[in-house]
Symmetry: D3
Subunit: 136 residues, 6 copies
């Protein structure tokens, strides 16, 4: 069950078709996952979302593509977004995540959530040493 | 302001002193940050928390130490834990995070939060292709 | 699957029946959605929850009924409450939300989640200009 | 810094004065904490919030008053509400929470956050044994 | 305290100056709030964030500008982003939010958080009536 | 659907078998719920998670076992972890939680979420009276 109905013939819309074509070309795969099909209910939202995902996730940058997928998983788990956890775990595997790395990812993000609770419950004051001074 | 008073002479307690000594030795630094001082109100909680942080964050594993710090930041930001964001951003810098990597980290975790909202608002159904089949 | 069993004959209980009758009268509809059926496991909780929802959501106030439904969706998405997202998206449609407004709602709440991450990750200090001074 | 200015003479308003008087009488203390002073910017919101807090937290019920305060802390920490963590930790102490109970509370809520991440990251399917069947 | 140091002379950078000039022109005000100053540590992140905020929040669309600010507040409160709550409450006031509307906003978003907890705790199944069927 | 495949013959692995045996012995039940089966994809993660859950939840401590289960539910609901809500509600029932206590738990955690929103939206300053002074 979902809150909008995806278009039954999405690629009849030229703007949607252009985005789907670019997704397939960028990923070198025929598979267009449901997220994009559902966003196609509003072509502007689809275009802008894909444009940003392409720039941030599919363009070489200061971080490794697999690291970026694991960061995506970390946020999606903390926000309890089931769809996103599934899609980005699948992407991370495609980009080479091993089972040992997956387990390590789980160890880190579950420990982070645990110590977040401790620091927040205690309202620990931030050490002065952690401050970033203004550039001189 | 915090919700417990940290002990005024924490290292007078042998269990606390042993943990603080191990923190200094592990990190090769005299600096023991406030999180540990505040956890010292309960030596058992201090010991167990440090033991786990040491195993997960300070022991070689399938993920790079800097990647683990960035995952920690991703969770801490999503949980809005100010203390943890400060302490793990500082740790990430110590482990070599550049300004460009920091900006890229922000790009990824803010985009993840954004698309989490979209997938959750639409209640997009999970693609069958994302399922992990049981091992044969 | 749910964590309590809804009563099999809820309206055999007079307090439950009175609430269900008022829900139907207020909404001018025979449909009583599952939330109320499940809350009926405890008539006091049912009565108080409905009383508050009726006052806040079904009574004329400073905000338009459709705006209130969209605010409800914004919170429910951020909290990842699937049931609430479904029920309040349906209510917003009943109150006239167009597809263009729905897309705009998604644009705003996903951007808000994104910039929340940025401001929190940077721990941006609040501008003095934003403070509310005490009344004179 | 806050987003509304609390009234400079709150008890000049009769509705506010009646609530403040009831807070003092219920708690047998002259201290009215900032939450109520800030809510006084809208007397209706103040009255309804206090009425609900009084019924749920200050009226004998199926759960012990100290347990209710600790549940309040658990939610407030998970939501990262600094004000609420402070006020309900103080209330829990007033109702007898020992330092050992406080440490135990932290152990449980931090472990819960940790295993929440694990179950969510793995998307573990709910066991059929956990379902609540409809009453017969 | 913050996790990056804002540039000491941000407008010496042409890309930053162009964004700040556009913020001032769009808002018809000389005030550039801290969020943009801090984002200026990475001009690309600054440019992209402002471009998106301008399109979504400062361009006429299907929703009223004040409604968009209130939705922003709703998400920011739920994510506990102090900076964002301050800045968007100030913006909402600039766009005409009355004290009565502010109180009503608080009533709705706090009730939503409350019933989110109830529906999630009960794991209420979604009514079939809420499903959006595919377009025919 | 889940993100890892649980092992098809988990107890063929000695480390997994030892943990499952201990779960059965500790709980005096043959039932090993899915959480442990799924964690068995990484025996180290399984061992450490069970060891911590056993110490915190199944060992006598300053808090009553039922209170600990209810705290677990409070956090799990706030984090929207469906699996955890189901498993810990079932555990709480096993430990004696009555329907009246369950309803009271819901009243408290939903009120907490509501007032969290109010305090956060108002950015109420913490009262000096709530500070914990350093021990003398």
């Amino acid at each position: 069950m979902s809150t909008v109905a995806p278009p039954s013939a999405p690629e009849a819309n030229n703007r949607v078709k252009a985005v789907f074509d670019d997704i397939r070309a960028t990923r070198k795969s025929d598979f267009v996952n449901n997220m994009w099909l559902w966003l196609a209910f509003d072509p502007d939202l689809l275009e802008r979302t894909w444009a940003e995902v392409k720039v941030v996730m599919a363009t070489p940058s200061a971080l490794d593509p697999l690291v970026k997928e694991m960061l995506y998983i970390a946020v999606s788990v903390t926000n309890s977004c089931g769809y996103c956890i599934h899609s980005h775990t699948a992407s991370a595997r495609t980009k080479g995540m091993t089972e040992a790395q997956h387990a390590d990812l789980l160890r880190v993000i579950s420990l982070a959530a645990k110590t977040n609770q401790l620091a927040t419950a205690l309202q620990v004051p931030v050490d002065a040493a952690f401050d970033s001074k203004s550039e001189q």
